[in-house]
Symmetry: C2
Subunit: 482 residues, 2 copies
């Protein structure tokens, strides 16, 4: 019942707004979702709006859960369902429906429902959604909305989607600096249903410049007769509208903020960003490094069509092909030795594989530390030294084991010694290049993870083959003598 | 001045408590931090507590920033500083000082300051800190605290550090269900300075069982004369005290919660977890996958000593050595062909390297999708099909380019054809195993990223060599004929 009421007031929100604040138990068990969908389909078939609404109220689920139940209905049924119960009722859970599905559903709604639904969405979610649509559909939706809303949306769409502007909402609570605490609390009571958060409240002057900040906690604690300007904190940490969202996330994480105000170049308050938007940014930031380390485009996902995946991965593979040719050229230099002692061909992948693995271990540790800001520039050489050191010890260890195996396998002590030395040196190469490459990329103001795994693997392949086959060539007589 | 006052009341908090809610501008510029430290050192030398406090008040910085400025002072000076100004003043920024440094500083404090400081810390941060200390020191600190506090701390320490219990705080706001809204707001006013958050308020019965929930927003909106029990939501989404923290984070992200209540097995409310604790969990969750994909232990960091890094990485390298031997064995099967046509040895690393790269691309996309819960179990085969498809198209493309190069390089059309086919097939192998392995690991209820990159690389190495050298052996006469 509660949700419906809140939905009616048109403030449901993907973010930390009024709707998700009501943590109700998952009363609809997962196994029941089929039944729920079946019931809903019946309501749609019979056009029984009342019963559809009652169904929702009976379960009174969290909108996020309801979205999960109705998603399997498919685009058409979902659009019919929304058409049946109306935008106000549908809004709370519609904002939790997956982005792709949202777009498809909008295409199938009537003009009225579409306008209703979109105008009631929270400004930031709406802008994200429209941003991702083709221009014609975007225009169609914009034309349905009233003029003031339209301006607001166009403004939000036009911010870079990776900037603070692209993430902020314009639904922030505002109070007057010359109000009493008591009057301010009354103001907030009125604003509460319509704002993304009322827990952090910003104070602006007549030119809309941000001049103060007060938390609802502080307002509650303050004596009722005091003036807002005497209770508020006068210097506020804010971010610029064009600031990179990853920087914004770092700031919010650093200060443990629930929200942060966004200001324009001339210090005017233009929006706020709330903690729940940052949940995703924090996750994506780390995921981006993970993707770059695997030579993937950050935009790819498992749901990308084959053609798109091919297009995004192929360039990296072509780069790798170039470096692989360099590796092949290195091996080619030692063809004579290989043809005289063919065991070299069998053992050389071991040197390369272990080197690549150790190199990627170093690379990943260093990329992670750089992302967390743990490495001051002046400490670069210490990083190299540490990783090379780890490589040396592990190289002796793994090389020792492999040397013994090679000795036993081919009954050739020289072969064992050569592979021991080659692997030890190659794991030092791995540690060295595994840290040198990301650190250098950072110095060049590039992303430390960009293409680095290809470079590291090339270094360990070329290094490994050069040392292993080089030593084998020098000691070829001893090798052949057994 | 504000911060000091709040600090005095002993509620400074690492988390979203009263302190970080006051976003003040970084008035102390980074370049000034040396001067700040110098000033402080002078105060310590002259024992001038008043001036040290004044210095802080003059800048009135955010405690997180102040912590950054004073950290370079070093352990001893920092301990002396805290001793000088007292625990209440130091607490707000001390809770932002890095964990390692905190522990060192505590060792150097007097009994009184130590007891003062630790007793004023927020329960969850304190438990984390003590948890990480050696038993003797832990006992020493516990013995300094009063009995009631002691019980509380021991309880928190004993929860698994990756469970909800390990992350929760016991400082949550509580109201009576038979109070009026007006009385409840007055209650919150009194509780506000001492609680981690007063924005989500939980309602319990006499047996401390969680029976309801209300947000401060709803309280503010509700008519003052109403009873809490009529305003509150009666079914609350909560987590169990022993629930894995990653699951808790997923839940909070799913519902966009600011906080979530933690209950014991018998449904009693024992604590809450707030959004700022989850910031870190979300980040670590993704970073863990990234680490596992590079065969690293989640506990390692760049700051781990060489010995520890060696110990954590060596087991993975040994596992890889075993699989590498298998790869070597595959190559060994074709020694005759290689010794007769040694170009095979030079080209085979190309087949392996590109296969490994493409395999890791598939692997990373699938691991990420699994982590985000994007792959229902029944869709496993579609994942395999998609990735194999991408592998096929990219294989034809890259194989085509490489085939042409090989043809031109060795002036041998057969060699070009063989490498084209080998690379195409091997990139299908890469896509197939790159998705099969994580999906299978999940079915076995293991982490999809665990050891998977070693398995995928082994599959693409063995697969690549088998196909390339196998084809070369079949068509050896044609190859030798040119």
């Amino acid at each position: 019942m509660k949700y419906t009421a809140i939905g009616m007031s048109g403030t449901g929100d993907h973010a930390a707004s009024s709707v998700p604040e009501m943590p109700v138990k998952r009363e609809v068990a997962m196994t029941e979702s089929t039944t729920v969908v079946e019931h809903l389909l019946e309501c749609i078939a019979s056009g029984d709006a009342e019963q559809a609404v009652t169904l929702y109220d009976t379960y009174s689920p969290h909108p996020a859960d309801w979205a999960e139940y109705v998603e399997p209905m498919g685009v058409d049924a979902l659009a019919q369902y929304i058409e049946l119960v109306g935008a106000s009722h549908a809004l709370p859970f519609f904002e939790f429906v997956s982005f792709e599905l949202q777009k498809e559903v909008l295409l199938r709604l009537s003009r009225e429902t579409l306008a209703d639904l979109v105008s009631q969405m929270s400004p930031d979610d709406r802008a994200d959604l429209l941003d991702d649509m083709e221009d014609a559909l975007q225009e169609r939706i914009l034309s349905l909305l009233i003029r003031a809303e339209r301006q607001n949306i166009i403004k939000l769409i036009n911010y870079d989607e990776d900037s603070a502007g692209g993430y902020m909402t314009t639904d922030y609570a505002l109070i007057r600096f010359d109000d009493t605490v008591s009057a301010a609390l009354e103001q907030l009571r009125l604003q509460a249903p319509k704002k993304e958060t009322i827990y952090y409240i910003y104070v602006v002057d007549k030119a809309l410049r941000l001049i103060g900040f007060v938390s609802l906690r502080e307002l509650i604690m303050a004596p009722r007769y005091k003036l807002v300007r005497d209770v508020m904190s006068k210097s506020v940490i804010s971010v610029r509208v064009n600031e990179d969202i990853e920087e914004v996330a770092k700031k919010m994480q650093h200060y443990d903020f629930l929200a942060i105000p966004v200001v324009s170049e001339d210090e005017r308050l233009v929006g706020i960003i709330t903690f729940d938007d940052i949940y995703d940014v924090i996750q994506e930031e780390t995921a981006e490094d993970m993707y770059l380390l695997a030579n993937l485009d950050a935009d790819e996902s498992l749901n990308s069509p084959v053609g798109r995946s091919v297009k995004m991965r192929a360039p990296w593979l072509l780069v790798n092909l170039c470096t692989a040719l360099f590796v092949a050229y290195t091996v080619d230099l030692f063809s004579d030795s290989i043809s005289q002692f063919v065991a070299l061909a069998a053992l050389m992948p071991i040197v390369a594989m272990l080197g690549g693995n150790a190199g990627n271990q170093s690379l990943t540790v260093v990329v992670r530390a750089l992302a967390l800001g743990e490495v001051p520039l002046r400490d670069n050489w210490r990083v190299l030294l540490k990783e090379a050191g780890v490589g040396f010890v592990n190289g002796m260890l793994i090389g020792g084991v492999m040397g013994a195996i090679a000795w036993a396998w081919y009954d050739n002590v020289w072969l064992g010694l050569i592979i021991l030395v080659a692997m030890s040196v190659n794991l030092v190469v791995a540690g060295f290049f595994g840290s040198l490459i990301p650190v250098t990329l950072r110095k060049l103001k590039l992303d430390p993870a960009l293409g680095s795994s290809i470079l590291v693997t090339t270094a360990t392949d070329v290094g490994g083959f050069l040392i292993f086959l080089g030593l084998a060539t020098i000691f070829l007589q001893q090798l052949l003598g057994g």
